[in-house]
């Protein structure tokens, strides 16, 4: 936005007008998925509200095209970033069944004037490198998927029988998602047994502080340190049969005999609890009660929440699967586009 405003200042009036038109053309090309013409602009103004089914008001076209994207390019299936088996004997990094094509979505601008080339270069790079991208809705948005699987690995490299999510790789991925202009939304899919507290909390803090829309989905299980990661998104979903285990933080299950150690563990636990409480609807009192509940777990104290239980206590926002999560994420992306469009108009008027 700042760059666009800077481009509108300086030079002769004719130059400024030309640059203003160019900027507006770029903006329209990005937000209505194609180079604008007067007919198209009148038919689908960018401020037209989005209906719950994804279509626009008075839009005769179906909400999504029958064929959501171009044919996949030959070559290896795209990799799910963030899901990494560790060591030999493990399968290669996870791939998503029916993984999406890596080419541009239908109607996605392929470039334009020569001076537009720099603006679209990151997008082209993503296409070329085959980074995971969900099938386009035809509206030009790009959603990335981050999987938090197995053990969240921290400062100690875990033995090779563990499947791990490596934070030193996942954290820069989150930075890339924030900085890459062609990525508009993030879906975080969790199936984790927990792991390192510091690493998990770091991931949760990174996800929470992303400016782009993000939605989380718990499938299978989102246990222990997976809980703060799940609640870090703007909206969280859990499938009917997925579970979340809440139990106290301990140091390798041994009896805590030193007061300082106990206080350290207590502080760690407070950090996690505060993050969860401030990013979800659950109260601190309820969460601590679930954490220290007896009679539910065989080997530990704590609580297992199954699907709707997690929603009932306020930990997760809604029961749903991947379609609900994606639909909500697309809605958030559309809201953000409309806000940016409003800001752009205000900026242009100011200059």
């Amino acid at each position: 936005m700042r760059r666009g405003v800077d481009e509108l200042t300086g030079g002769s009036e004719r130059e400024r007008r030309r640059r203003r038109e160019l900027l507006m053309r770029r903006y329209l090309a990005r937000y209505i998925d194609r180079e604008p013409d007067s007919t198209e602009s009148e038919r689908r103004p960018p401020h037209q509200p989005l209906l719950p089914d994804g279509s626009r008001m008075n839009d005769p076209s179906p909400p999504y095209p029958e064929h959501p994207g171009p044919a996949p390019e030959p070559g290896p299936a795209p990799v799910v970033p963030g899901a990494h088996p560790h060591g030999p004997g493990q399968p290669s990094p996870s791939t998503l069944p029916g993984a999406p094509p890596t080419g541009p979505g239908p109607g996605r601008p392929e470039g334009g004037a020569d001076d537009d080339a720099a603006a679209v270069e990151p997008d082209r790079a993503l296409d070329r490198y085959g980074t995971l991208r969900l099938p386009s809705s035809g509206k030009g948005e790009t959603i990335h998927v981050l999987t938090i699987i197995g053990q969240v690995e921290g400062h100690i490299v875990l033995p090779p029988q563990n499947k791990t999510t490596k934070y030193e790789h996942t954290i820069p991925q989150l930075v890339a998602i924030e900085t890459n202009p062609s990525i508009e939304g993030l879906l975080v899919v969790l199936n984790t047994v927990g792991g390192d507290v510091e690493a998990g909390l770091a991931l949760a803090e990174m996800i929470s502080s992303l400016s782009k829309p993000k939605v989380s989905l718990v499938v299978g299980g989102g246990h222990s340190i997976g809980v703060p990661v799940a609640v870090a998104a703007d909206r969280s979903y859990i499938t009917h049969t997925a579970t979340m285990t809440i139990h106290p933080i301990r140091l390798s299950g041994l009896v805590v005999g030193v007061p300082q150690t106990y206080e350290y563990l207590d502080k760690m636990q407070d950090r996690v609890v505060k993050f969860i409480v401030s990013n979800s609807q659950v109260t601190e009192e309820d969460f601590r009660e679930m954490m220290f509940r007896t009679g539910e777990l065989a080997r530990d104290i704590g609580t297992v929440l199954v699907g709707s239980d997690a929603v009932r206590v306020g930990l997760i926002d809604e029961v749903g699967g991947v379609s609900e999560a994606i639909t909500h994420l697309r809605g958030l992306i559309e809201q953000r586009r409309q806000k940016e469009a409003t800001d752009c108009v205000v900026d242009n008027r100011a200059h």
């Binding site: 990494h84 493990q90 760690m268």
Partner: protein, 77 residues
Amino acid sequence: MLWTTVPIETVMEGWGKKDPQLRECALPGGGSVLVDVSSGEERIFRLHSTDPQMFLKPQYAPGQVWSAATAEPVTRA
């Protein structure tokens, strides 16, 4: 500090018995990858780069088989 539902003895089983043997390979244009060669084949262990976009490229994900042929120059967006 681990917070997990998996028993700690299961998580840490075999810990320290087999350390990865790592080799550092420079990437064209800057950055490097640590490659684990202990299993007989070369698999990426860790990527070192200040360009976050590099971390979105699947060929640099940990666990991927390393091939110098797939290395791409580091480019700043």
